[in-house]
Symmetry: C2
Subunit: 143 residues, 2 copies
DNA sequence: CATACTGTTATATATCACTATAACAGTTGA
DNA sequence: TCAACTGTTATAGTGATATATAACAGTATG
């Protein structure tokens, strides 16, 4: 489970956590029953306040994605798996649609969009590493 | 000049305005010398506070994209054209990078991303029209 | 039972975005 | 000059986010 948080982003930190936990479940990085990092642990690694993590978990629970038990921790819900499978391809499609809408707004032709797409794809292995920087990052391998 | 604003979005309203004015300039919808809607006019149409529009214009002026004159209004700067040209392709590249990062997070292979990309590109003419809905909208034809 | 983890709650503080209201100042044209 | 537009500034209030600090409560294990 890998988490990045950017406190300078307009998107609230707790919302960033919610989004990324959803992704982790969708990607299969987190399976049903898996424990999430404790409030204090994640807060320490991300260098944010535990209450902020708690708020993210609270929302995830309200959405039924995780179950949280006092004194035990928070766990990926059993029912979280099924809707998550389609999430990946759908999320990509939504992202691409957003780019295409942008292209229309900007008066950039689709041919040029494809050009840029292939260009970024070629550059991906390098540029993506650069992109990861900036936010605080946590690699969670030791659970 | 068409503006959409969503007050429920995490992105501040003033930032949304800044972004969309940049797009309008980049797309050629606004040319150098063109007048922007007055603070009060745009505020009324978008149903937001004039100060919020003022904040957006202030930032646009600091970035050199517009020039604002007391008692007259705000106008697209003459020098705004050249940097705006790159804005389009850059914005597209940024959007694509975001999609590629998402793909990595979701465990979706780049080949599949390309597949989805071509698929959405083919579907674009229809699907893009539906996307424009949502948020308050202002079409500004009477200036 | 004591310890050490869990989540939960309360209080206070700070910052940012947005609003409401109001007044002030520059520009233009009747 | 006066009216009707422009942008500008000041003040105050609201809500959301995040912080620091602290205490409280459930669970498991030695």
């Amino acid at each position: 489970m890998l988490l990045r948080v950017d406190t300078t982003d307009a998107v609230p930190v707790y919302a960033q956590i919610v989004e990324q936990v959803k992704r982790a479940v969708a990607a299969g990085v987190l399976d049903a029953g898996d424990a999430l990092p404790s409030l204090r642990e994640m807060a320490m690694k991300l260098r944010i306040n535990p209450l902020t993590v708690g708020r993210a978990y609270k929302q995830l629970e309200q959405e039924g994605l995780i179950e949280t038990r006092h004194g035990l921790g928070s766990f990926v819900a059993g029912s979280a798996k099924s809707p998550a499978r389609e999430f990946g391809r759908d999320a990509i499609a939504r992202g691409i649609d957003r780019v295409l809408v942008d292209a229309m707004d900007l008066g950039v032709g689709f041919d040029e969009v494809r050009e840029v797409f292939e260009e970024r794809l070629r550059a991906a292995p390098q540029s993506l590493r650069g992109q990861a920087a900036g936010g605080d990052e946590v690699r969670d391998e030791d659970r």
